[in-house]
Symmetry: C2
Subunit: 214 residues, 2 copies
């Protein structure tokens, strides 16, 4: 059963990855992304540069790991197909953000949220990271269009879905920037909902401020 290689291997692997990433983000934040070399990260994590490259194909990936994409695509497919695309995408984005940051009743950012914030700060302020982050949206856009499962024989429908997806993601990204500028004090899902409403009108999200709280 090579499908499940003992799981212990996988756990150790995931653990070292987290370790390396934590050191990387810390060093990047302290001394700047460009001023920090991969060798520096390797030394801090106590391993050879080669090993770092084995876990993260590029230096940028040390910051960019994306757990959000799969979540969104999954939720899109789960939405009723009757609603307009923008609404479906918007709901999926808001829900996914709520799940990801999953914060209980207005307390401050948790530890994992602080890490997310640190990563986002880097992604926004560093050109190379910002560029690749936006390119990830490009991939996510395709995933969303696929998940919408619209009639692929009609090129016009596909086009509209692509436009909806890219516009929603752009609005979400702006919300993300805003959230980071506010140091995560507000609630991410609410900021996203506000952004979507600003772009597409109130009809874009089920209802602003709903969700697990309300």
């Amino acid at each position: 059963m090579p499908d499940q290689p003992s799981k212990l291997r996988a756990r150790r692997r995931a653990e070292t990855q987290r370790t390396v990433q934590a050191h990387a983000v810390r060093l990047f934040t302290e001394h700047g992304y460009d001023a920090t070399t991969v060798v520096d990260v390797a030394e801090a994590a106590g391993m050879s540069p080669m090993t770092v490259y084995r876990h993260f194909p590029t230096k940028e990936d040390l910051v960019l790991v994306d757990e959000y994409g799969a979540l969104v695509a999954e939720r899109i497919a789960a939405q009723p197909a009757a609603q307009p695309p923008i609404r479906r995408i918007g709901n999926a984005l808001v829900d996914s953000a709520a799940t990801l940051t999953g914060r209980d009743r207005g307390q401050g950012p948790s530890a994992s949220e602080e890490f997310l914030l640190a990563r986002l700060r880097l992604m926004i302020s560093t050109q190379a990271l910002r560029a690749r982050h936006l390119d990830n949206h490009y991939v996510l856009q395709q995933a969303i269009v696929d998940a919408l499962g619209c009639d692929t024989t009609d090129p016009d429908t596909v086009f509209r879905a692509q436009v909806a997806a890219s516009a929603c993601l752009a609005a979400m990204h702006t919300a993300l920037v805003r959230w980071v500028e506010d140091d995560g004090r507000t609630e991410l899902s609410a900021v996203i909902a506000k952004a979507l409403a600003a772009a597409f009108g109130e009809a874009a999200v089920d209802s602003v401020g709903t969700g697990p709280y309300a």
Copy 2:
């Protein structure tokens, strides 16, 4: 008068830049962006690699020169401020595209348009170029928000403007991709107008299909 250094210098400079860029885009298209080195480009253009770097700070800039940004920002400011931001931005995007491709009555793509198409094809298919191109949108977004000249003391207004700008640019980018997939046979400004209408409703653009033709 060092402000206007004889103009002849500037013209020669611009000319060599065009030469280098033409060779670069040709080589990139023929052999692939990643498979072509800057040294290859320099040899093709008949100069040393250093000179190439003097004219284009990075390899990516050989493809990415952006003449669009200034055009858009300028047209935004020229629009009546009474209209909603999305409409103002949408009109500016459509008008700028029409100016840029400036084609007379449905003939095929001109020579300069072929060049634009080649560059866009590279920007879309090559990851590094795609990423930096999207990052340029990020800069353009700021320029648009500034050009809108909204009340900067109210953070909410600024946020809405940012959302509007990023969403419009995303829709325009999708239109761009579509246009390239169609090998520029349709009219770029019309595709952009269609994308904006799909995202924000018919109210987004003054009227689809208007402009210098209609």
